[in-house]
């Protein structure tokens, strides 16, 4: 490769922090590499050292705690897609994982990498954002935990401080009545989202909506919660009129730009339509 760099593979957090503190800004954290290697090849990043964190046990694995689903930052999309507890407690995240790139990319790319890349179109990122997930950052001097939506600041920008690494994600366990991830791309695989989104609904006993998440990707500098649309839905029963109204609110609430993949009018329009379709799928699934 054009850019020369060294490579380490620490076996523990302690080793990792020694390396990070020793090499400072010249070192880059390396997980799946499916974003970072592309950037290094394109010369947009030129690290002197890659520190491969995949061997560190603390960043691996998926398990449940009382209130949280805990996903290690170096879990691959393939692992996440096929995990029974992700499918149960964070179905949009499993679905998002299943639609990343291709099988080859899913077997290698990690959730931590997806969040750190902080693309507005990040599939895993959108799901985490909408599910109000948190992440834990570790460093040689301690740890901190914050919402994913506070960590990612803008396209390609996060709050990762020198010496820090994303260790785990915490997704609130919630028994949603209906939850899903959807993605619109220029083709059916190997596609960067033109628009993506999650919809999660909790239905009350009377059939009206008690809680809702609508979070859209690729229509703003970061994933976007459509709070006005969410507020509108609360307390209502979903039917085609309600779904159409939500669609219109979403279309006005997103902030897309035009680029080589799609125009902003299309992105705004299709955002609303896809949310509407998911609401109708939920409603007809219940026989409404």
């Amino acid at each position: 490769m054009h850019t020369q760099f060294e490579y380490d593979r620490p076996a523990s957090k302690t080793e990792l922090f020694e390396l990070l503190d020793g090499f400072g800004e010249g070192a880059a954290l390396y997980a799946g590499g499916t974003d970072l290697l592309v950037q290094i090849r394109a010369l947009t990043r030129k690290p002197a050292r890659l520190i491969d964190i995949k061997a560190i046990p603390d960043f691996q694995g998926i398990h449940e705690e009382d209130s949280w689903l805990v996903v290690g930052s170096t879990c691959s999309f393939h692992e996440i897609e096929n995990s029974p507890c992700v499918q149960k407690w964070a179905k949009p995240l499993a679905e998002a994982a299943s639609q990343v790139g291709s099988v080859q990319i899913r077997l290698k790319g990690t959730l931590g990498g997806n969040v750190q890349t902080a693309s507005p179109a990040g599939d895993g990122l959108c799901a985490l954002w909408g599910l109000e997930a948190e992440l834990e950052l570790l460093s040689g001097s301690g740890s901190r935990r914050l919402p994913v939506s506070s960590f990612v600041k803008g396209p390609g920008r996060t709050d990762l401080r020198p010496g820090e690494v994303i260790s785990r994600f915490f997704i609130p366990k919630r028994d949603w009545s209906y939850s899903t991830f959807f993605k619109v791309g220029r083709r059916n695989a190997l596609a960067i989202a033109v628009v993506s989104g999650i919809l999660a609904l909790e239905e009350k006993e009377d059939g009206s909506i008690g809680a809702v998440r609508i979070c859209m990707g690729a229509v703003g500098p970061t994933p976007l919660r459509l709070r006005e649309a969410e507020d509108y839905l609360l307390g209502k029963k979903v039917d085609s009129r309600v779904a159409s109204e939500v669609s219109a609110i979403v279309q006005k609430g997103v902030q897309p730009i035009s680029d080589v993949r799609a125009g902003k009018e299309y992105r705004a329009y299709i955002s609303g339509i896809r949310v509407k379709r998911q609401l109708l799928a939920y409603a007809t699934g219940k026989g409404i």
Partner: protein
Amino acid sequence: MSVSFILNGKPVTSHAAANTTLLEVLREEMLLTGVKKGCETGECGACTVLVNGDNLNSCMMLIGEVEGKEILTIEGLAQDGELDFIQRAFAEKGAVQCGFCTPGMILSVKGLLNRNPNPTRHDIQVALAGNLCRCTGYEQILEAVEYAIEWRESHA
């Protein structure tokens, strides 16, 4: 670096620099040119190899990640001069035109069957969506895979 791994069933050691991809090691150091370079961005799948049974883009893997792993390339499929059943199906069913995508495609089929020995046509399409083919339109490739699975079942 000095990285030891199992390549097509045999132990080998690579002395490539840390910034060398597995693709470059396989082609330039190990002289396995059956592994193809199509894009180097993980977008075409021509460089697909099996790593511990998983089909990955070797262009998206650094040599340091390969320590202790088992790598299978297209050259390692045929046993004692006998074609593997997937290779034979591809050859018989017109699934090969220019052949450049073929090694990666066959290994993605192998990766799929490692995970799911009985895939539907849709499962096969999903599994091969990371391997671009410009020649065939995928039709004869899908038929070859289905034929291979049938053949294996009838010869089990």
